[in-house]
Subunit: 120 residues, 2 copies
């Protein structure tokens, strides 16, 4: 898929150098928020620990989250549009926060949000 | 290893019927205390969660504890003397709490505490 812009033609998985720095900051912002949310959930679950099953449920939850984070925080440029679209769908980032990116990249990410939105 | 008593000769791994019921209660008492201790530790660790590493440290801790509990709570009569001796060494049970058991069984467990004490 290709997009026309004043500066030329960009394919879906190309990232301009000027966008890359902003992308990295947004990626780390999402991760930071995700970890803060996770800590809140763990602290709530820990307060409610009573019977043994709840301890091992917490263990399963953390094992699941470890795998989820490992898969979710994938910084390959080839998948980054989709990664950011997922962050938006999970309310870790808002579309407004992508305004510093080039218009082309914003459109690509918006497009991916729409595609993923239809799939789920 | 055999012990003489007024009621006959008992080998180290034999459990009288009258001792078995008490043993099961003591075993469950140790487990209950161990879980209560574990919940206290998890709640303390959860309060201190700050950076991502502490989340994954908690995960590792729970995975370790799951294996430890699985190995520790082994109710085969052939290993129960050693299991109880370990409970005593870990302060999950006191020797006083074994007073309802037959004198032979108390002596066997005390003997195992001594052996394990020397090894550690």
């Amino acid at each position: 898929m290709k997009f026309e812009s004043g500066n030329g033609v960009y394919s879906m998985d190309k990232w301009r150098k000027s966008d890359k720095k902003i992308a990295k900051e947004l990626f780390e912002l999402a991760r930071k928020r995700d970890y803060a949310n996770l800590i809140d959930i763990i602290q709530l679950k820990s307060k409610n620990l009573t019977i043994p099953e709840t301890i091992w449920d917490l263990r399963e939850f953390l094992n699941y989250k470890a795998k989820e984070f490992d898969q979710k925080y994938d910084y390959r440029y080839s998948v980054l549009d989709q990664v950011f679209a997922n962050f938006i769908r999970e309310d870790l980032l808002s579309l407004d926060e992508f305004q510093s990116l080039s218009k082309e990249k914003q459109d690509q990410i918006q497009h991916m949000v729409n595609i993923l939105g239809k799939l789920s």
